[in-house]
């Protein structure tokens, strides 16, 4: 399928300079128990404008959105919607006033059909007291066409791709009259092509005068899509600019508050001559993994590129013992390797940083200390023969890792739910630093992580590899792989469709291979 990049980038939103801004925020402040989450923020959004909100995790973007939605109360400051002061105390009120909020974790009911999800919470036409699904369907079809969903309305949303689920969520917002829609990291789990589809939909929305608040870490995207851009740092809006004035460098400097160090590789070591650590031969699992063979050398950073759903995560699950392959074989340091469980994989020296840190990587209510040591409990005994664990050893290990990864947390006893996304991700990575690993698989290691933390994570990956670990990085962010990998394998429909090394690893090459159909 061809990429349609140009369209979105060039066109300007109509009605951009109207007299009264659609949304005006003046002097907005909010503190949580003494910590300033927002401080004197001013912001204006015009009808039909896509307004980018960017900044590190914990910079205040989410707090701003939560105040708009009425999830939390502001301390001071004013919000005007179409010139009128706005006070909402819960999300329902905000919805009634024409706001719509789409969070990273979509609020869909997986088992319900598209139709039922779209009509959720709306008054439906009834006949004899029963819902008249036929006439409801008519209304829904119009909205569905608008966002470009092609599936049957009876399809349960759990069967849709993440991209289509986003479209359903947007369609749900369009079921009522909305003025402003906020989207939190919409492209975080979308492929490049799916993102383009989403951008088209966003563009269609703005041409109807709907404003979009667009929260993202992907600066290229923001620069292509957003009319106005606000950069947040430490609760302040440090920069308000427009697409015409902004460049990536300007934005990065504003986010970080200074220069960013370049973490890209200088000299790729000759990893191919190193010993082979892991070898996969003709690994198969259902329709997701199809005869995958690969060789992993000591100290190698091996990237797995491809589209979401191309079988990369499933492959990782096979290596980490979450699932067992249907056929094919694996060896680890020359010996047959057949992990029966994750525990088995770990004791063989294989680790996994999972794709979803909140649902798969962390016990959110648990402290940093608690989470960090879960992979490592047997080494924390007071004495090797005693069943009791030493809290002192717990603290020793986690403090060391907190320092090593520069995790920003008030203490190791803070629940991880209170940390920002980037620091949470570092905790998930930190879980694996306390033991000797031969192979570490990292599934989307920098998803939803700010620029600074991302650079630190990349540096850490390199450091681990240089220390002799072999690392497999799965990433849908095609700029990430060229940055850190020695070798990139591209998967498409469960098969390896390309192997790139050294200078061949480029964003374009990965994209190109991603669309190669394995069946050809």
């Amino acid at each position: 399928m061809p990429l349609e990049e140009s369209e979105v980038a060039i066109m300007d939103a109509p009605g951009k300079r109207t007299a009264v801004p659609l949304l005006r925020i003046a002097g907005l402040s909010k503190s949580f128990g003494g910590v300033r989450a927002l401080s004197n923020v001013n912001l204006e959004v015009n009808p039909g404008e896509v307004h980018g909100l960017i900044g590190s995790n914990g910079a205040g973007k989410s707090t701003l959105i939560k105040i708009l939605s009425g999830d939390i109360a502001r301390d001071s400051g004013e919000i005007f919607l179409e010139g009128l002061p706005l006070y909402v105390s819960n999300p329902q009120e905000a919805y009634k006033l024409g706001f719509s909020f789409i969070h990273q974790e979509l609020n869909l009911i997986p088992k319900f059909s598209i139709l039922k999800n779209l009509t959720l919470g709306l008054r439906k036409k009834t006949r004899f007291g029963l819902i008249d699904w036929k006439s409801v369907q008519g209304e829904v079809l119009q909205v569905v066409a608008k966002v470009g969903l092609t599936q049957s309305l009876d399809t349960p949303v759990e069967e849709l791709s993440v991209a289509d689920q986003w479209l359903v969520t947007i369609a749900h917002a369009l079921m009522r009259k909305i003025k402003i829609i906020s989207m939190d990291e919409p492209t975080a789990s979308l492929s490049a092509e799916e993102s383009e589809r989403l951008f088209k939909v966003i563009h269609d929305l703005t041409s109807e005068g709907i404003a979009v608040l667009y929260v993202s870490h992907r600066l290229d995207e923001v620069l292509a899509l957003c009319d106005g851009i606000s950069v947040f740092k430490d609760g302040k809006c440090v920069l308000t600019t427009t697409r015409k004035e902004a460049t990536k460098n300007i934005l990065v400097e504003a986010i970080v508050g200074g220069q960013v160090s370049d973490t890209s590789r200088q000299t790729p070591p000759n990893v191919q001559s190193q010993a082979v650590v892991m070898q996969l031969t003709d690994l198969c699992k259902g329709r997701k993994v199809n005869k995958v063979s690969l060789t992993l050398h000591k100290g190698q950073v091996l990237g797995l590129g491809g589209l979401v759903g191309s079988g990369r995560t499933e492959l990782a699950n096979l290596i980490f013992g979450v699932e067992r392959p249907d056929s094919g074989s694996m060896t680890l340091e020359g010996k047959p390797y057949t992990p029966k469980s994750t525990n088995d994989a770990i004791s063989n020296g294989v680790g996994l940083v999972p794709e979803e840190r909140r649902t798969q990587g962390l016990i959110l209510k648990g402290s940093v200390d608690f989470n960090m040591n879960l992979t490592n409990l047997s080494q924390l005994r007071i004495h090797p023969a005693s069943p009791f664990l030493s809290k002192r050893k717990f603290a020793l290990v986690s403090n060391a890792i907190v320092n090593k990864l520069r995790i920003k947390t008030p203490s190791i006893h803070t629940p991880v739910v209170n940390l920002s996304g980037g620091n949470q991700q570092k905790v998930v990575i930190g879980k694996w630093l306390s033991r000797d690993l031969k192979v570490l698989i990292m599934d989307e290691p920098s998803r939803g992580v700010d620029v600074g933390a991302r650079a630190e994570i990349h540096a850490k990956i390199r450091e681990l590899a240089d220390a002799g670990a072999s690392i497999i990085v799965i990433s849908s962010d095609n700029e990430e792989l060229p940055h850190i990998c020695d070798t990139v394998l591209v998967l498409s429909e469960g098969r390896i469709t390309g192997e790139l090394t050294g200078g061949e690893i480029t964003k374009e090459a990965i994209l190109h291979k991603s669309y190669e159909h394995a069946s050809l």
């Binding site: 798969q360 990587g361 648990g366 009791f388």
Partner: protein
């Protein structure tokens, strides 16, 4: 750090305190109220020992239930296991002429088996724990009747068995010692051992636990086995206390055990189940029951109290928590 208006911080702190210490404050208020209302009976040392003694059996079964709830599973079969244990232990001693030192370990082992079966049904057959333990609970009632036909086993019990709960050790009722030992062991287990930490991790997020190399199924089975064993200890001690093995003797412990654990989860921590909280929950209910009984209120009021207090305490603390974080 910014300067925040003083009053706001004060309100915030007060609300947090209500959410964490609400049960303890309520317990103290209740204690004071009863002390003022019936000063010559309620606040006496004798009555305090009495309350503690009455609370012991509930504390042990609730402590076990806490393990099941921490790992994220319900166990509705505990009271039935407790009743069955009482019947079985007396039956083994009276009818099979077994010495106490053999009968008790056998009963505890069988109860552990029931817990393991609960765990296997939940983890391997993927049956929801409410359904699974309702089912096994009913089967355990069946075993109970199959074994003793519903006839209480009383005559011929060795005196040493009765002394198990009635006796004293250096002036302290044995039951209080049993409770202290069991709950302390559970507390150490859940906080300072590998398995304990893994139980908490599994309850916190099963998929993250699994991806951290924790054998989630085994851990769940273990937690349910502990719940059953604790229930069994309560059942055995109850049989010793009332001097007979009666088919439905411990059935009434189910609801207070849940009440105590949930009250406890609203104490000191933000809705997490924990042993210290459970102990406080047990005493909360114990003090309330004792005071009301001394007052001589009709039975129905005691049930109102139990239900009302549970909803009120847990409800208030969660409301306070939400307001404090807003």
């Amino acid at each position: 750090m910014a300067v925040v208006v003083n009053g706001k911080i004060r309100k915030h702190t007060a609300l947090l305190a209500v959410s964490k210490f609400g049960t303890i404050i309520g317990m103290l208020i209740m204690y004071l109220a009863f002390s003022i209302a019936v000063p010559h009976i309620f606040p006496t040392w004798k009555n305090m020992v009495n309350i503690a003694n009455q609370a012991t059996l509930a504390a042990i079964i609730s402590g076990g239930l806490t393990m099941a709830l921490i790992v994220g599973e319900m166990d509705l079969s505990i009271a039935n296991v407790a009743s069955f244990s009482g019947v079985l232990v007396t039956g083994l001693m009276v009818q099979s002429k077994m010495p106490m030192g053999i009968a008790i370990p056998i009963v505890i082992a069988i109860s552990a088996g029931i817990g393991i079966i609960n765990g296997l049904i939940i983890t391997k057959l993927k049956v929801n724990s409410v359904v699974a333990t309702l089912g096994t609970g009913s089967i355990v009632i069946g075993l109970n009747y199959a074994y003793a036909q519903g006839v209480p086993i009383a005559s011929g019990l060795p005196e040493s068995f009765k002394q198990l709960s009635l006796g004293k050790f250096i002036g302290i009722p044995n039951n209080i010692i049993f409770m202290t030992v069991v709950l302390f062991a559970l507390w150490v287990f859940i906080n300072y051992t590998e398995w304990g930490i893994q139980i908490r991790a599994t309850g916190g997020n099963p998929s993250a636990a699994r991806l951290s190399g924790i054998r989630v199924d085994r851990i769940k089975i273990m937690a349910l086995a502990i719940a059953s064993v604790c229930a069994s200890i309560t059942g055995i001690l109850l049989a010793s206390l009332i001097g007979s093995g009666t088919s439905g003797a411990a059935d009434g412990y189910l609801m207070p055990a849940f009440a105590a654990v949930f009250l406890g989860s609203a104490t000191l921590k933000d809705g997490d189940f924990h042993i210290v909280g459970t102990l406080i929950g047990v005493f909360f209910i114990g003090i309330g029951f004792n005071g009301l009984a001394i007052f001589g209120v009709p039975t129905f009021v005691q049930y109102f109290f139990r239900g009302g207090v549970l909803i009120l305490a847990v409800g208030l603390s969660s409301v306070a928590r939400i307001m404090a974080t807003k």
